[in-house]
């Protein structure tokens, strides 16, 4: 060893340094490989999720006759915005939009009011039959919506005129959709996680039952309210079946029903329909982006107790 100009210690140090860097390189490679695999898997799911949107976006900017060209083209040659013009000028799109906004907003607001109050009652008040009633509420979750549509329609269509709640009216559209048992369940579970002592402290401080709810429980429920609100709004914004059944006139249609009505018996302008669908999506995407931060916070809220 000595004639090679290295002491035993130096040689072993050099050897271990080389081993160390080899191990570090190997470690880097393994990490890179794992990262790549994870990204590939995620990419597959991203394509599955985003694909339909892109597929919808592309024809909305193309003329109808270009749509059936072969081979299919994803990226339009020209950027044609005429489809949007057609929608706005030649259909009642804005009226449908207004109807949808009224419908979805009303259902959301009323659902939130009912579900938070019912959730509070089930979580915090003691009254006879509480468990049975709650089980009853939950059991309605098992009834498919489709089964309810026909009886609901019959009920609404037989309401006397003075109620102004029949077919082709806002109340007739809205009222049967409010209050979701899932929402009641969500709210009850959330309220159950709030410390009992808070409610007791408020009662000792002189708060009435309503004040306890309004001043203590409701502000603390913000995360749950945001989640239920977004879910309800998004669901009702694209609700198709009920508005289809309960509206018959063009000026009462919602967006989903209106767009579906654009399909002709013989000719369907897919470019126009795509454009309408894209415009319908935009508000939902915007709402989600605005509340996204809250949404994530809310889903974390249960995990981290203050």
């Amino acid at each position: 060893m000595a004639d090679q100009g290295l002491t035993v210690e130096e040689a072993s140090a050099a050897r271990s340094a080389a081993e160390f860097s080899r191990a570090a390189r190997r470690d880097q490679l393994v990490r890179f490989g794992k990262g790549l695999a994870a990204y590939l898997v995620l990419a597959v799911f991203a394509v599955i999720a985003v694909g339909p949107f892109v597929y919808l976006l592309s024809p909305s900017f193309r003329k109808s006759f270009e749509l059936f060209s072969y081979p299919p083209e994803w990226i339009p040659h020209s950027f044609y915005t005429g489809n949007f013009g057609t929608i706005l000028n030649e259909t009642s799109y804005l009226r449908w939009g207004l109807n949808t906004l009224i419908f979805a907003t009303s259902v959301t607001v009323i659902t939130l009011a009912i579900d938070t109050l019912a959730g509070y009652a089930f979580a915090r008040l003691r009254f006879p039959g509480r468990t049975l009633l709650f089980a009853l509420v939950l059991s309605t979750l098992m009834i498919p919506t489709a089964v309810l549509i026909a009886p609901l329609y019959i009920m609404i269509s037989h309401l006397p005129d003075w109620t102004h709640s029949g077919v082709n009216t806002y109340p007739g559209m809205i009222v049967p959709m409010v209050c979701s048992p899932l929402g009641v369940f969500m709210m009850r579970q959330f309220i159950s996680t709030l410390p009992e002592a808070l409610v007791e402290a408020a009662r000792l401080d002189g708060a009435s039952e309503w004040q306890v709810f309004r001043k203590i429980v409701l502000p603390l429920m913000k995360p749950a309210i945001v989640v239920l609100g977004i879910f309800t709004f998004m669901f009702q914004w694209v609700n198709f079946l009920w508005p289809l059944v309960i509206t018959t006139t063009d000026d009462m249609k919602t967006l989903t029903v209106g767009i579906a009505s654009l399909q002709g018996q013989f000719v369907t302008d897919w470019g126009v329909i795509s454009a309408a669908a894209v415009m319908t999506m935009v508000p939902v995407v915007i709402i989600f982006l605005i509340f996204q931060r809250w949404f994530v916070q809310a889903s974390m809220a249960g995990a981290l107790k203050q």
């Binding site: 410390p195 808070l198 007791e200 408020a202 000792l204 401080d205 203050q306």
Partner: protein
């Protein structure tokens, strides 16, 4: 301020009897500590007094008024919870002001009251903070401020220090004592911590399994425990108990266990309190606190011979585990003691320090209090 009377309180949760016929009298301005292990019913008593739970039977009288059927808020008591129960979405100011706002007091009146309460508890600089931005000690002070701002007739405190770390607990304990001296409000204080009970209470009510075991000043319950439970629950390390029999001797009575013979002075111990025939060799327990042993050289007369098993130095004291016969006792002694494991010694004691407990657990000392089914009248608060 008000006197609180609890008469024959019974509270059941389903089949569980959490409080079993407890009677207490808390004098106006008194600081009474309810002490006992978890699940002994002490918090339940507090919650019944507050009105958060209804009594199954018995009367609650606050300030001469029967309150059983009166709403919590109208009882005019303030409660401090173990987990503070601050409203997390409100600032400190709003937390303290909440009871006054609910009572629809005038704005300037609320402002003044909040500032006064904040001043008493040193919270002036924290009024705009949220509870989440405060330390445990600060949160506890906010909870106290919210309690005092209403100027209640009584404070009910449910283990208010148990969420604080050791150092902060000592500090907050002193603050609570000072607060009580300053405001003089009748206070019921629930804890399982005997140090809190001994240092803060004018009187201590010791509870176990829903029953009131004893009530008295800290000195009384420590020196003259009514029964085995009180004797062992108070004191760290707890009182030594040795099982054996009571025998008659030429000049009175003696405790016997194998080769241990302890003469009992009939001035101190009164075996006639035993339901059984004392001469028949009744089963009893001999009790002596660790600090009441003195250590003498081996072979000293009038003591119990023993051998050191373990040493536990805790800084201020040295705890010895001493083997005597087939059992062992704990002895508290000078930390500078030269004793080593294996050393022989004689344990000496004053005969008037001795406790003897009958088979039913009751203390047979002449000066032991009777079983506290009905509370003794409260002394005037200092």
């Amino acid at each position: 301020m008000a006197e609180i009377l609890i008469k024959h309180l019974v509270k059941r949760f389903g089949k569980v009897e959490a409080v079993r016929d407890v009677s207490l009298q808390i004098a106006d301005g008194e600081f009474l500590v309810l002490l006992g292990p978890s699940g002994c019913g002490k918090s339940t008593i507090l919650r019944v007094v507050a009105g958060l739970e209804d009594a199954n039977s018995g009367e609650i009288v606050i300030g001469g008024r029967l309150v059983n059927f009166i709403d919590p808020v109208k009882r005019n008591v303030a409660m401090v919870f173990q987990n503070y129960a601050l409203y997390p979405h409100m600032t400190v100011y709003k937390n303290i002001a909440f009871p006054l706002q609910i009572a629809k007091r005038r704005k300037d009146e609320i402002e003044g009251a909040v500032q006064r309460a904040a001043g008493i508890l040193g919270l002036e600089d924290l009024l705009q903070r949220l509870p989440g931005e405060l330390s445990g000690g600060q949160r506890q002070r906010v909870a106290l401020a919210r309690a005092i701002v209403r100027e209640p007739d009584a404070f009910l405190m449910d283990e208010p220090l148990s969420n604080l770390d050791a150092q902060l607990r000592v500090q907050t304990r002193l603050e609570l004592i000072e607060l009580h001296q300053r405001l003089g409000v009748t206070t019921m204080y629930v804890t399982h911590d005997q140090v809190e009970a001994m240092t803060m209470g004018h009187r201590i009510a010791v509870m176990s399994e829903g029953l009131l075991q004893q009530i008295g000043t800290p000195q009384e319950v420590y020196r003259r425990p009514a029964n085995v439970f009180v004797a062992t629950f108070l004191g760290a390390p707890p009182m030594n108990l040795i099982g054996g029999t009571l025998e008659s001797a030429a000049d009175g009575w003696q405790f016997r266990r194998q080769d241990i013979d302890v003469p009992l002075s009939s001035d101190v111990i009164d075996p006639s309190a035993l339901q059984l025939e004392a001469e028949a060799g009744a089963e009893v327990q001999f009790g002596l606190r660790p600090e009441h042993f003195r250590i003498g050289p081996p072979g000293t007369d009038g003591g119990i011979a023993g051998r050191v098993q373990f040493l536990e130095p805790v800084g201020s004291d040295l705890y010895l585990t001493v083997e005597i016969g087939d059992t062992s006792v704990q002895v508290r002694t000078d930390p500078d003691s030269p004793l080593q494991p294996g050393d022989n010694l004689t344990l000496l004691y004053d005969h008037w320090r001795v406790h003897v407990f009958g088979a039913d657990g009751h203390n047979l000392r002449r000066d032991a209090p009777p079983v506290a089914s009905v509370a003794a009248p409260a002394p005037t608060a200092s």
